[in-house]
């Protein structure tokens, strides 16, 4: 059984959008025979295999059922987003009617939020590739944000979704900026943790773009400057297009209202940044979300991969509209289990996933937006301070492994 489940790591490094179908587990270079220890504090290898079978069955059932309704849904979202964008741009021509400017900012903000989250994020995960519509295809889609799709698909789809919450592998842990997990070594810089995070919130789209450049590969010697430049060739062009559109062309079109339009477009980008930042920080950083060490995950089985996704993610509860505005990332757990299933399916399968988690004794981390943000904020403050001596000596991941050995 296990060997067949493990039989998913063959072949070349998958392209960013293919990986979802068959996530590639970490393979130990030194000891290919060793089995990963992820999850053994809760389940046996046999139970982990059973978990994989149950979750695979749900995945297959949903995939087999995809059809017209899913296509209609995403097209409806696109229609609403397009309408909001046109309304937002049009209202900027009327700044002399006081509520028009505000309404314009609101429309444009919602348009950008829908574009980036329910449409962009999900389309680029390949959730609608089965429709074979070039406009909704993960390889071709580009979103209304400064960072180009290609870089994001690499760091997010591939690295973050494959190596979720593994230290040294998942660059999304603290985004290389803040300390959000006990196992990140402390540094005096992290005294500024809350300030850094607060600042990042406003410039989030630029942060994501910089993050996706993966300049650290230059520092670590993994890539030469030429390679970094080649990999990011499209970024400058994308930035130019976005900036020219929002801060030159549309302001110029409104003639005498140049400055008010520029301010409106700027505000819409900031609103989107704040929203996206909050949703995304609540996805993996609230208290009780677990992280993992590289050795513990090497040679993991499909069940262990699934377990890591559940324990490494957190949901946010809320209304239907709220879920849509988060791009259904409020169902982060379901999304991490099945990244390439259309997001409208996550709320539908959530009760089943929750029941499975309960049965296997896995924490299904969920809470209101307020509660999850509060939890993240608290961690940002406490983890910014130097760790107490005894805790620092034994990082959490090592502690879990020790428990096992004991």
């Amino acid at each position: 059984m296990l060997t067949t489940l493990l039989n998913i790591g063959k072949g070349p490094v998958p392209s960013a959008s293919d990986h979802d179908e068959r996530p590639r587990p970490l393979v130990s270079e030194t000891d290919p025979e060793r089995r990963a220890t992820v999850g053994l504090d809760r389940l046996t290898y046999e139970q982990l295999d059973e978990l994989a079978v149950e979750l695979d069955a749900i995945r297959q059932r949903v995939l087999d059922d995809l059809g017209q309704e899913d296509a209609d849904y995403i097209r409806r979202v696109v229609k609403v987003q397009s309408g909001l964008e046109i309304a937002g741009r049009a209202l900027m021509f009327l700044p002399f009617i006081p509520p028009a400017w505000l309404a314009g900012v609101a429309s444009l903000s919602l348009s950008k939020i829908l574009d980036n989250m329910e449409i962009g994020h999900n389309v680029m995960h390949g959730q609608y590739d089965w429709m074979n519509d070039p406009a909704l295809n993960s390889k071709q889609f580009e979103w209304d944000i400064v960072g180009p799709a290609a870089g994001w698909k690499m760091t997010h789809n591939y690295e973050h979704h494959t190596f979720t919450n593994i230290h040294g592998k998942d660059r999304d842990i603290g985004y290389g900026l803040v300390r959000i997990d006990e196992d990140q070594p402390w540094h005096p810089v992290y005294l500024a943790n809350p300030v850094l995070a607060f600042g990042l919130m406003f410039i989030f789209e630029w942060g994501v773009m910089l993050h996706d450049l993966e300049l650290d590969k230059l520092q670590s010697g993994e890539e030469t400057w030429e390679q970094v430049k080649a990999r990011n060739a499209g970024t400058l062009r994308k930035i130019r297009r976005q900036v020219v559109k929002d801060y030159v062309l549309f302001p110029a079109l409104t003639g005498p209202f140049f400055l008010s339009t520029l301010a409106g477009n700027f505000s819409a980008n900031i609103v989107r940044n704040i929203w996206a930042f909050n949703v995304i920080f609540c996805g993996h950083f609230p208290a009780d979300v677990e992280t993992f060490s590289e050795e513990s995950a090497e040679n993991e089985s499909r069940g262990q991969w699934y377990l890591r996704q559940v324990l490494g993610s957190a949901n946010i509860s809320g209304s239907k509209v709220f879920h849509i505005l988060t791009g259904n990332l409020s169902h982060q757990i379901e999304h991490h289990l099945f990244p390439d299933i259309p997001s409208r399916r996550y709320p539908q399968i959530a009760p089943e996933i929750r029941e499975i988690c309960d049965r296997y004794g896995l924490t299904y981390n969920t809470g209101s937006l307020g509660k999850q943000i509060g939890s993240v904020a608290k961690k940002l403050f406490t983890l910014g301070l130097p760790p107490r001596k005894d805790a620092a000596a034994t990082p959490a991941a090592a502690r879990r492994d020790d428990d096992l050995a004991a």
Binding site: K10, G11, P12, D18, L66, G67, Q68, E69, D70, A71, D72, V78, K79, S82, G83, E85, I86, W130, M131, N132, D133, A135, K139, E142, W143, D144, K238, R241, Q242, V244, K245, L249, F250, L253
Partner: protein, 370 residues
């Protein structure tokens, strides 16, 4: 021969097609907004609406399309990519244009033979209704008549392969062509013959056209007997060496025609079109050497099939679309080595050239960036 019957665009539509409109609507482009109002309003993407479906035989239908103004016309013999959406999923197939370039309503048609287990062809034949929106491409393909149409040409076809040459024949007629043309068509039986009525009409009205029909499963019924052989050309008084020929049909027919022209030293007189990638001969003498899949770091012994099939066999999942050389989705860089195009037989040996792996097979050692 060519046409551009595109209705002239008004100022608004011309502005929408400018680069400025593209910048304002970045990153999605102007069509994404226009199609919210009506899928046919797109200025860049070619789309059409089905205006009529005509049943030609029990197993073939003609679909007449009214394209939007992004369509720039076609040359007879060309094909279009034709996408229909069923149950949320778009399926794209390629069909030759079957109508004359002279239709003054700007419409064109494709004619489709329904294959027993064919998804799109059955759908078009049985379910397609007027009013359906179809996702098209511009007309494509090099299987076309030259601008200056020579006299004494032969249009040869088998089965549904009649579509592109029918478009040529009808376009010639409507353009007032009067120099001799021979139209030689092979169908299984008279009942299976797709354009029987239209051909009868050509026979009645065009003295310059010699129409010969052969029914391979109805001995005694047609103008000639049995499958195509060199003898058929002799009987019609056709010398391959002096007859510009356009041939389209099943792989078996095309292979025989090719051999005939090769034996007469007349390959350059012959243009062919396939509807399906011909099955590659597994025992071909040139199935030697090693296929190196560079990015994957794999070497596999060349087994004579297309590079796409061999890469899939090796466990890779290269991107592909049509698997017949049309859509270019499977294009990858060939680093070095020689490949044979299974449609044209052409061998290319340049380093670092882009090839479509669905229709190229290795000749000896080949290294591709897969």
């Amino acid at each position: 021969m060519s046409t551009d019957r595109r209705p002239r665009r008004g100022l608004a539509r011309r502005l929408l097609a400018t680069r400025l409109a593209d910048h304002l609507t970045a990153p999605h482009g102007v069509d994404r907004f226009l199609e919210q109002l009506d899928p046919l309003l797109t200025v860049h993407q070619v789309r059409g609406v089905v205006s009529e479906v005509v049943h030609e035989t029990g197993a073939a239908s003609t679909v007449v399309l009214a394209p939007n103004d992004a369509w720039t016309g076609f040359r007879p013999g060309q094909h279009v990519q034709f996408g229909v959406e069923v149950d949320g999923k778009r399926r794209v197939r390629v069909f030759s244009v079957s109508s004359s370039t002279a239709r003054d309503d700007g419409r064109f048609s494709v004619t489709v033979k329904a294959h027993d287990d064919g998804y799109v062809s059955q759908y078009l034949h049985r379910e397609m209704a007027p009013g359906t929106v179809v996702y098209l491409s511009e007309a494509e393909g090099e299987f076309v008549l030259p601008e200056e149409v020579p006299g004494g040409l032969l249009l040869l076809s088998g089965g549904s392969g009649i579509t592109p040459v029918m478009s040529m024949l009808l376009s010639l007629r409507d353009a007032g062509h009067t120099r001799p043309v021979t139209f030689l068509h092979y169908a299984r039986s008279a009942d299976d013959e797709i354009f029987r009525g239209a051909l009868d009409e050509v026979v009645a009205t065009c003295p310059w056209a010699t129409v010969r029909r052969v029914y391979t499963r109805e001995p005694g019924a047609g103008d000639l007997q049995g499958r195509f052989t060199t003898a058929h050309l002799d009987l019609l008084g056709i010398d391959p060496a002096t007859t510009p020929t356009w041939a389209c049909g099943p792989a078996g027919l095309i292979e025989t025609v090719r051999k005939t022209y090769a034996e007469a030293g007349a390959e350059q007189m012959l243009a062919v079109e396939y509807f399906k990638v011909p099955k590659v001969d597994l025992d071909a003498a040139d199935a030697t050497g090693t296929l190196s899949l560079d990015s994957a770091g794999l070497d596999v012994p060349n087994d004579g099939r297309t590079i796409l099939e061999q890469a899939e066999e090796a466990g890779l999942t290269p991107e592909f679309g049509c698997r017949m050389g049309i859509c270019h989705k499977c294009t990858v860089k060939k680093k070095h080595g020689a490949v044979r195009n299974v449609l044209s037989g052409e061998v290319r040996a340049d380093t670092d050239e882009d090839i479509r792996i669905c229709i190229n097979k290795p000749v000896g050692d080949v290294c591709v960036a897969l």
